[in-house]
């Protein structure tokens, strides 16, 4: 068992445990902190999968921007364990059954799929670096890039219009 495998399993366990804690913890602030841990471990997975730029973007955008926004809103609304709405036991059961069926279907589809267990090439580790990504982004993917800028503009305007005081 070499370092990569140890890292892989450690990050996997951390991601799954963090996700479980996000869903089950009563206090929303704890949920956000566990979600940040999950995002960091997913970023570690990205680095193991040769997507270094995306790992850094994931940390900056998710853990840095979105989660801070969440945390800020939760603290603004003064949410804590006491304001958390009571959960129905039947609702929990139904959620578990529905999500479990989905998981079962996924795992069954995975089992019967014919993906050969390929190992990635070691020498091509620079595919996820910013030089290659930038060249491709501004040649092949320039139209989606511009469309996403329009999306951001409209989202910004929408957020300001919705959020402003009457």
């Amino acid at each position: 068992m070499n370092v990569t495998q140890i890292l892989f399993w450690f990050l996997s366990v951390l991601a799954l445990f963090g996700a479980l804690m996000v869903v089950t913890s009563k206090n929303p602030v704890h949920s956000v902190l566990w979600l940040i841990a999950t995002f960091f471990s997913i970023s570690g997975h990205y680095i193991l999968l040769n997507a270094q730029f995306l790992a850094i973007v994931n940390i900056i955008v998710y853990a840095g921007a979105i989660m801070v926004l969440f945390l800020f809103v939760i603290m603004l609304m003064n949410l804590n364990k006491t304001t958390e709405p009571k959960k129905n036991r039947w609702l929990k059961l139904a959620g578990g059954v529905a999500g479990g069926c989905l998981l079962l279907v996924f795992i069954a589809a995975l089992k019967s799929s014919e993906i050969t267990q390929q190992t990635a090439e070691v020498k091509t580790g620079d595919i996820g670096l910013i030089k290659n990504l930038g060249r491709e982004l501004f040649s092949t993917y320039v139209v989606p890039f511009e469309i996403s800028s329009i999306l951001f503009l409209s989202a910004m305007v929408g957020a300001v219009v919705i959020g402003k005081k009457e």
Binding site: L49, A51, V57, F70, L103, G158, V160
Partner: protein
Amino acid sequence: MTEPGLYQILFISAALFFIGVYGFLTRRNLITMLMSVELILNSVNLNFIAFNKYLWPGRMDGLFFAVFIVAIAAAEAAVAIAIIINLYRSHKSIDVKNAEELKY
């Protein structure tokens, strides 16, 4: 312990997706529901990158899908939080039960 490969990472992302769906169905707090959606989006990202690495190692399409998903998730979170703040201002609560008036 087997060598970590495509199967293992697909299993992890499926489990993350399941946890996200479970949280989305059971939590009644709008912000934690939004966090579950972020979990689901991240599991999809993990899938895209894993497929990109293991099946088409020379291409970058999966990476770009993941980049655009991250961008869309950021925009979605901003708009959703604006809506939540507006709801909180009028109802003093972000329970989804109180958001039923949005229907009318």
